[in-house]
Each structure stands twice: as structure tokens, then as C-alpha cells.
Symmetry: C2
């Protein structure tokens, strides 16, 4: 009861886990995709994903050598849906979340294989949609 509630609540306390949940609102993602966006060690991401899964917030699917995670669409415990709804209704305009989604858009332009090989570097050669924040200053100061 209260232990289950605590487990789910704990999953939502950590900023990294909230960022993962917000990313997955757009659909399932491979572990290396999440890793590329968050910029943390693969082991750390994996541990977070395990915690979110235990809390009943995520589900898992294997495809070849990659593992995809998605938001749990079926209530795996009494509190998961309510917390998911709360997160979904929150933080859409948070700077970190916005930046994560921008990186996610870039990640989606790259084949998963490239991400697994090069990690975040796979994004560096992918500026086809320049935005205000990524656009180079015309006269960079040395």
C-alpha cells in the first residue's frame, strides 16, 4: 500500500527519471537513444529504467540487440496511472525538458546504430534544422 505509493513517488523525485518519462511521452525509445539525450552513463540510464519499470511506470520490449522502453499503457499498480498523468500535465515548458525534446528531435534523425556506435557525437554532424540556439554567431569572438 503505502510502500507501493512510496516506490512510485520515489521514481518521480529524481530529475533524470522525470526527464526520461517526459521523453517517452512521444513514444518508445531505445536505451542508447535515451542515453544520448540525457548525456549520462549507460549504466546510470539502465538503472533508472529498471527503477521506473519496477514502479510500474514503464514497459520493455526487445528488438534485435536493442531494448525499447515505453510508458506503461496498462495500470501495473494502483498509483502509476495517476503519477503518469501528473507528470504528463507538468513541466512541458521547463527549459531542461524543452532542450531534451530538441535533442530528441535530432536523435530521431539518426539511425539507432549510429547512436550506439558514436553516442552523442552522432548528433554533431546533424544540423539540418538550425534553430536560434544552435545557429552559429556570424562573427565568433576568438
Amino acid at each position: 500500500m503505502i510502500e507501493t505509493f512510496e516506490t512510485v513517488a520515489k521514481a518521480v523525485v529524481d530529475p533524470s527519471r522525470v526527464r526520461i518519462l517526459k521523453l517517452l511521452e512521444n513514444g518508445e525509445l531505445c536505451v542508447c537513444q535515451i542515453t544520448a539525450v540525457l548525456g549520462l552513463a549507460t549504466a546510470t540510464i539502465s538503472k533508472h529504467l529498471a527503477a521506473l519499470k519496477v514502479a510500474g511506470l514503464l514497459q520493455q520490449r526487445r528488438d534485435g540487440k536493442w531494448v525499447y522502453y515505453r510508458l506503461a499503457e496498462r495500470p501495473l499498480n494502483a498509483y502509476a496511472p495517476q503519477f503518469l498523468a501528473l507528470v504528463r500535465a507538468s513541466l512541458a515548458d521547463d527549459p531542461t525538458i524543452v532542450e531534451d525534446h530538441r535533442l530528441l528531435a535530432m536523435v530521431n534523425e539518426v539511425p539507432v546504430q549510429a547512436l550506439c556506435d558514436q553516442g552523442r557525437d552522432a548528433l554533431a554532424i546533424q544540423p539540418p534544422h538550425p534553430t536560434e540556439s544552435t545557429r552559429q554567431h556570424p562573427c565568433p569572438i576568438p
Copy 2:
């Protein structure tokens, strides 16, 4: 943004703080009343109350030498109302919460002054509404 969210979420992670929130759903309570129900050190309760207040979940009122806390009825930050609603909709049948409410009923039978003087012992001499769990066994085994 996400820091505020984290602060409120953190307040809901700890079981003791959830128990306090559930107690206050019935109306405001004095610090020593909460202490008597939870059975923790006064300093610990005070720290929890401060955290809940900082998170925008509680408000404070002084009456004589006692301080009363109540659920924040006006949104003090963007996420407090949603978390309060989630807690309110949860754990009504949790054993710990049920027991807390039973103790709260006993606490309400005792003047606040008695609680401050004797703490939880003030409840021992107050069995006017015997329940299954408090009723004495007719032939106590020595």
C-alpha cells in the same frame, strides 16, 4: 520549474510526510497532536512540517503557544494542488493511514494541553470508545 516540481515530489516521497498530509485532510492540527499520532520526536515532526510548508503544501497559524498546520487551500506553487489531489485520492485504506486516523480520533478527545504535557500517554487513559483492537482480553495471560 523542474526544481520546484522536485521539491514538491520530494515532500510526497517520505511516508511520515504522507501520513501528516493524510491527517491534515480532516482539518488543521497542532504540532503536538501530529507528534502524538505519528509517534516520532517533536524535532523530526517539526522538520517534516517545515519541508511540507516550503513545498507549498501546508500553511501555518499560531494560536497562543501552539502552532497549527493545515493543507494549503490556495496554490502556493504550480504543482502543490496536483500533488495534494493525488494524495487525497490515495491510501485511504492503507493500514498505517487507518491506524493513524484511529489515533487521531483519540487525540481529538484530549485537550491539546494534555498532549503537550504527557504526549502519547495522554491517550492511554482515554478508552471511551473501545474498538476490537483496543478492547482488553477478558483473561490476560501473565
